[in-house]
Subunit: 499 residues, 2 copies
């Protein structure tokens, strides 16, 4: 009994795979999302915010990790009725549910954007978290590939708006129908019995999607008998013959110098497949529409090696890749890689309603894009710290609060030191930690004379680092000012700091 | 076997108690949160975003509904280790965890704001959802009541910033120490054995918090033997004697015309209780600090009837109430009521570290405040719909997309109709549903002549409602313009609409 008396303290830790975001991490992401939302808005997209929790049946089995259906979500049963609910793992599944639930009220087509956290019950790793942000735009109810073209153009605009210059990104477009045509030619798709070879096609799809990571040899292995990775784990292959694999590999390498040549090559590859020919025609239309708006191959290109891993895509697929090099953890240069992707998924709403509803959309990987902006020096600054009014005399708190009140009324970020004021050094350490540009000091002597001491902490830090004694004397980092000039003097100092 | 062949379709529904937010609902909330964040920022508060998921032990038993500890959260066990995790039910518990986890890295005091959804596993009802937004600001590590005063001032500023005019709200301040002093006098608190009568004091606290709802008779019943509600449910009372209950009731009615009179009355009530006297002194200090900054009784008042239901408060408590009347669902006028509340909780971080860490903070009920703004006509507008370029000729999609491209480049929200263009009436119905201000029409005839038809949908709607034939002729809602003047003409029309 006695041992139960004193319960152990709870651990102050996030659950495994979750993390906290402080200060600039929060504001920079917000600024980026605001900018993207502005672009989406200008394209006519309306915001939608669904709840974090969905019924498990509404989420369906469309997780990116198709090998572990349902295992990849955080799910629990409702107390009252025992129904399973789960945290959403993306923003597309909730959109499909909304499009079905409100189909009589929403405009057709329905253009919507959504941004917010999603949750994946996956093994966490370095830089891999179980909660992360997505930022999606989708058009539901538009069968025309003009809708796909629009999303590609909007994606390019969004990337430029947040600060990725033209030339540093490329949007690559492909079409699943072309791939299906190739599968038909390779003999792993029978147009009269689409369910036949479904398993093999899934393997082919995921193999192609891993070209970047595994190289041609790795993909070949997955198209054939299978592949053993470095850890000794064996992944089953699609068991294609060499001739079949050649057709698939030829498809991935079908990109040519111009759009016309690429389309001609693809037409050859899909041979007599009606679906394949339809896919090539759609690619041409998308490319023409984009070119007419000025989105040329410097921004958007046709690239048959893009397939996207998700099973549910039915037509055009697209991916935005950042093309500049970064240095990885091991000091090696590498391409930054993909920051956004999407495509057409004409069957997701049908799950609910039984009626086909065409849909297409893109998802931006917010955290990766933010990391890219930091690489480019477009983000990663620190938040401007507040002006700190120090407390020299505990009984004159009202005076100090009046000072910050005046500063705030002038739009200046300011606060009184609210820790224990006894040790003045601690107050200046606090100001340093907060990256305060300015500290205000007023002891009883200054109060009696109607003045304040103003300490330029930015200049002070510079002087402390490098200045000679002469410079130090000629540019004093602290000066006295009339109490009535407080706001004007602080404003002047802050304006200097901004130069 | 056969019956398993065709699985039933999933229902397109949110789980019970959850909802979706569309269009203006999303943007108005965001605008309000942005404005509040700006005020918090100016006061020196830094943003913090914790994950939605916490360990159950970190969340603790501090749910507002103390009668059902742990029952009020959505919780599940981790696959790997069987540990319990749960969705956060507020933003204070995660802050306490963060303050403990990063205690060596955070500045002291740590001022942080946080905004985001929280989840409660409670019975949903009309207007009562299981996911809702909170917007909090807290100061951790400041023992001085100057920190409480600052939060009260900031709360008043935030309410005015979002559009609640002075006079339409009041921030009411009280102190738990005063209440404890009163409890001491009433004989339900023994300073030498604080755990004695803890159960009774909990009942008293919750009874006082229900004064608005239950009236004096209801509260008296809860202070005594207990109370049977309309449904026949019986709530156990604190079993105070009439004399004891008189002391408590006297406390709630202690507010006087001025701060000085209220404090004098409270001093009488707490008699010889040291803690009670300390509480009265703190109230006086807070009031003085606020008055010195110009926050007089038109904005912030001392009010002994405010106690806040939460058990964890240890000092000052505060609440913002909107004072204007609204009409309820049944057509009766009533006060809008509370939109924010908070107080000092000096023991929450101690749960983790064993060391006392003073903390105080406020939580704004975002959805209620937004509802209030809609009542005041400060929100609830509709989002400006996009200019719709209609599709007269499916093969000229590139031309139409070029038009929206030009409009967007000029900062004008615009889109091509991407539904089936066959029925032109549907295109105009769509424009109507989107609340489009302008529609653009260009058939092959217009294209050949280098012109477009511009349809003023705002004027068109007005004319359709009320205009005479003469007015209709003199103010045509549709006119022809040169294709090259498209952007200029649309901009002109939109500027008119804005007048």
């Amino acid at each position: 009994m006695a041992k139960d008396k004193k319960p152990r303290r709870p651990r102050a830790e996030t659950p495994r795979g979750f993390r906290d975001y402080f200060g600039a991490d929060v504001t920079e992401r917000k600024a980026m999302l605001d900018t993207i939302a502005e672009v989406y808005h200008r394209y006519g997209f309306d915001p939608l915010e669904t709840s974090a929790v969905e019924t498990l049946e509404a989420l369906g089995k469309y997780l990116p990790d198709v090998d572990r259906p349902h295992a990849g979500v955080f799910a629990w049963t409702e107390e009252e009725d025992g129904d399973w609910v789960a945290l959403r793992y993306d923003l597309t599944a909730p959109l499909a549910r909304v499009a079905a639930q409100y189909r009589n009220d929403l405009p057709t087509p329905y253009r919507r954007y959504a941004m917010g956290p999603v949750w994946r019950n996956e093994k966490p790793g370095p830089g891999r978290f179980r909660q992360f942000y997505q930022c999606d735009a989708d058009t539901v109810g538009a069968a025309s590939v003009a809708a796909d073209a629009e999303i590609c153009a909007m994606l390019a605009d969004a990337l430029e708006a947040v600060g990725i210059p033209r030339g540093d990104y490329i949007v690559r477009v492909n079409n699943r129908k072309v791939l299906n045509g190739v599968m038909e030619v390779a003999g792993v798709l029978d147009p009269n019995d689409p369910s036949k070879f479904e398993h093999e096609r899934g393997i082919v799809l995921r193999a192609i999607d891993k070209l970047d990571r595994l190289g041609e040899t790795g993909v070949r292995a997955l198209l054939g008998e299978g592949r053993e990775d470095e850890s000794g784990d064996f992944t089953e292959g699609a068991k294609l013959t060499k001739a079949q694999a050649d057709v698939v590999m030829g498809f991935m390498a079908a990109r040519r110098a111009t759009k016309a040549e690429t389309c001609a090559r693809l037409s050859e590859l899909v041979g007599g497949s009606a679906m394949g020919a339809e896919g090539v025609a759609e690619l041409e239309t998308i490319s023409d529409l984009l070119a007419a708006q000025g989105y040329g191959p410097d921004r958007i290109v046709l690239d048959p090696s893009v397939v996207r891993g998700l099973g549910y895509y039915t037509g055009p697929v697209y991916e935005a890749e950042l093309t500049f090099e970064i240095t990885d953890e091991k000091g090696r240069p590498r391409q930054f890689g993909s920051v956004a992707g999407g495509g057409r998924y004409d069957d997701l709403v049908q799950r609910f309603t039984g009626q086909k509803v065409p849909a297409t959309g893109v998802s931006i990987g917010v955290d990766r894009l933010l990391a890219a902006l930091r690489e480019k020096g477009r983000a990663g600054g620190t938040v401007q710290g507040p002006v700190i009014v120090t407390v020299m005399d505990r009984d004159r708190m009202a005076d100090y609060q009046a000072m910050v009140g005046e500063l705030r009324a002038a739009g200046i970020r300011a606060e009184v030191y609210l820790g224990n004021p006894k040790n003045f050094g601690n107050q200046l350490k606090y100001a340093d930690k907060r990256q305060s540009p300015v500290a205000i000091i007023q002891g009883s002597d200054e109060a009696a004379r109607g003045v304040v001491q103003i300490k330029d902490l930015v200049l002070g830090a510079k002087i402390a680092q490098s200045a000679s004694l002469e410079e130090w004397k000629s540019q004093p980092a602290q000066f006295e000012a009339a109490r009535t000039d407080l706001v004007a003097e602080v404003r002047r100092l802050l304006a200097q700091g901004g130069e």
